[in-house]
């Protein structure tokens, strides 16, 4: 206890890290479930269903499986790098999350006022960039240390791809920064307050729609997601750089990828979509939106629970309905609204973007490698450059 | 709170620099030699930043920044040269690259 009182900042940070780690790990796990569900629905399947209600315990089962599978280290690998790679991947992916704020509120923990972010920094965006640019080593090291040709190909491809796509990515980020004039993610959101027309994606003098689209495309490539998943192209390179990995090491790569998805989605939210701000001011009723959504969800669940297609749903749907209604009720409580509403909006926007990731995975085929590189250098990069130029000129003109 | 003498930073810089020189002298792989150069540049950058701190001026930071930019350019050209050397001689050992012409 003495330690706690002596180093309050340290302790509070540790607590925040612990909470964030728990939440994020859970979120990662359920993101896999979510993705499988979404892709399944797109392909007219049911997706995971048997483990737990609606397959809700499937991630848990997967985790257990990964943990207890034999950890194979192939004989010819470079051991240090081989072990280091997945560790590095996950560590870096999680580290980036430390910089992402999820709400404006300042709350008191142990008498210490603290913000809803693990590490607040004035140059958070640059740091975010810096840390995520290290992430590529995980892929490269994994590919190289496996001492096998497919991983090597995957590693080579991905290093080229990630360096190439980092350019349009950073250019796309630079444009909204010109509008907001700050590098702090928190201040970035503050400058976008006041409704949807103040979000950078729509804000004058030059709406950053192009930057947003470019950012999303580049983000897909940076996270090695379909349609840019060349480094791990299942049907060409088996699984790319992590062919030789199994059990928890493989899971680390997997989690790192989903974690990166969350990171870029939150970045897009913060940069372009106004972060945790509501699309229109609370005075016009935006605070009832979550209540309405959850209530509607609850009502729908209850309605389906009355007559279900399958027997087993007869029990789960009403339970979900009640839970949703309860959440709707929580949103009505005035004392939590102050920090819960921003959190809702942030999660809603990020979630929508994550859904877009899955949606696109379910619909688009993979690019060819030369198309991939040509696309960024010959199209994305010039367009991003032009966009930045126009934005800069307009900002200079109107300020 | 204990403070660190600026000399420590400079000494660290010197150590890193000498290690860079050692890498340059003892390594035979061109790429590693090249990396040793980068190490030396980094060491010098540390000195610049330390001086910047000591003089309370941003100029040292800028010098380091320029060094960085030049190093990036140098890396691009240097690696291209290494590629060419490798294509021509199928070796990366600088002791085997002793003549300008084959």
């Amino acid at each position: 206890m003495e330690f706690v009182t002596q180093h309050p900042v340290l302790v509070v940070s540790l607590i925040k890290i612990a909470i964030a780690l728990f939440v994020v790990m859970t979120a990662l796990a359920y993101l896999t479930w979510f993705e499988r569900k979404v892709v399944a629905r797109i392909q007219s399947r049911w997706g995971p269903y048997w483990v737990g209600p609606h397959g809700l315990l499937q991630p848990l089962a997967d985790g257990v499986k990964f943990l207890f599978k034999e950890d194979i280290v192939p004989p010819m690998v470079d051991k240090v790098a081989y072990v280091l790679a997945p560790f590095l991947a996950l560590a870096i992916a999680l580290t980036t999350l430390a910089l992402i704020p999820i709400g404006p509120a300042t709350i008191n923990v142990l008498g210490q006022p603290t913000q809803l972010v693990i590490s607040h920094s004035n140059i958070a965006l640059i740091l975010l960039f810096a840390i995520s640019s290290i992430g590529i080593y995980a892929v490269v090291l994994a590919g190289w240390s496996s001492n096998s040709k497919y991983p090597l190909m995957g590693g080579l491809r991905s290093s080229a791809q990630m360096i190439s796509y980092e350019l349009p990515l950073s250019l796309a980020i630079a444009a909204p920064l010109l509008l907001s004039n700050t590098l702090s993610l928190h201040d970035l959101v503050v400058t976008q307050e006041g409704g949807i027309w103040h979000w950078n994606v729509l804000r004058g003098p030059f709406p950053q729609i192009f930057s947003f689209v470019i950012f999303l495309i580049a983000a897909f490539a940076e996270t090695n997601r379909v349609p840019f998943d060349l480094p791990e192209a299942e049907n060409e390179l088996v699984a790319g750089f992590h062919v030789e990995y199994s059990s928890m090491k493989f899971a680390s790569f997997f989690m790192a990828e989903y974690c990166n998805m969350i990171t870029v989605s939150s970045m897009a939210t913060l940069l372009f979509l106004g972060g945790w701000t509501a699309p229109w001011p609370a005075a016009y009723g935006s605070r009832f939106v979550p209540v309405l959504i959850f209530a509607l969800a609850g009502v729908v669940a209850l309605y389906h629970g009355i007559e279900t297609l399958r027997r087993r749903d007869r029990l789960t749907f009403p339970v979900f309905g009640v839970v949703f209604l309860a959440i709707a009720g929580v949103f009505l409580l005035p004392m939590v609204q102050e920090w819960l509403l921003p959190l809702f909006w942030f999660c809603a926007k990020t979630g929508a973007l994550l859904f877009a990731f899955m949606w696109i995975r379910g619909t688009l085929p993979r690019f060819r490698y030369d198309q991939l590189m040509g696309f960024t250098w010959k199209f994305l990069f010039p367009v991003a450059m032009l966009n930045l130029l126009v934005t800069g000129l307009l900002v200079a003109w109107f300020s | 709170m204990a403070e660190i003498p600026i000399a420590w930073f400079l000494t660290l810089s010197a150590v890193l620099f000498v290690l860079g020189v050692a890498g340059f002298l003892f390594r035979r792989n061109i790429i590693t030699v090249f990396m040793s150069i980068e190490l030396m540049l980094n060491a010098v950058n540390l000195s610049f930043v330390a001086f910047s701190y000591q003089l309370k001026q941003v100029d040292g930071n800028l010098f380091a920044f320029f060094v960085m930019v030049v190093a990036a350019a140098e890396a691009a050209v240097g690696l291209a040269i290494i590629l060419t050397v490798f294509k021509n001689r199928s070796t990366l050992n600088i002791d085997e690259v002793e003549t300008m012409k084959n």
């Binding site: 470079d78 790098a81 140059i123 640059i126 960039f129 810096a130 080593y137 490269v140 090291l141 190289w144 090597l152 360096i163 980092e166 | 660190i4 003498p5 600026i6 000399a7 420590w8 930073f9 400079l10 010197a14 150590v15 890193l16 620099f17 290690l19 020189v21 002298l25 003892f26 390594r27 035979r28 792989n29 790429i31 590693t32 990396m35 190490l39 980094n42 950058n45 540390l46 330390a50 701190y53 000591q54 941003v58 100029d59 930071n61 800028l62 380091a64 920044f65 960085m68 930019v69 190093a71 990036a72 350019a73 691009a76 690696l79 291209a80 590629l83 060419t84 990366l92 050992n93 002791d95």
Partner: protein
Amino acid sequence: MDVILFLVFAIIAVVCAINVVVQAHPISSAVSLVGVMGSLAVLYLLLGAEFLAAAQVIVYAGAVMVLFVFVIMLLNAGAESRKGHSLMVQVLAVPLLVTLLGLLAYIVQRIYRSDTTVHFGGFTHGTPQDVGRALFTGYLLPFEVTSILILIAILGAIVLARKEID
């Protein structure tokens, strides 16, 4: 706190730097060098050079070293061959290196013995804003020249790498 931070990262840096020199495989050297750069970035933060710390990681670790690793993988370079030797290096290198280190350390100690000490937050003008302002006012010409230099480097690299060798 600051001392611990410095010591930890200084030691990491030195160890990684030694690793750069002694590792047989270039990839290991490269990864070690990334370690050096990362720890230097932390030291930059300690010295108040926020922007430079980020730039260090983005440019050096994120771009330059990735390029190195990329080339190493492309050439599939194995552990270095032991062919060739230089009498000069064998005889002179170690004494010279020791002398150089001794000299540098001696000079540093002599000149900066009782000078400034460093603590986090002692220098706050290394923010992107300050660097940007200096870069686009006093150092505008060097900055522009640098951009031309990079352009030339890009062209040079393309020309060199594209050249068909027969």
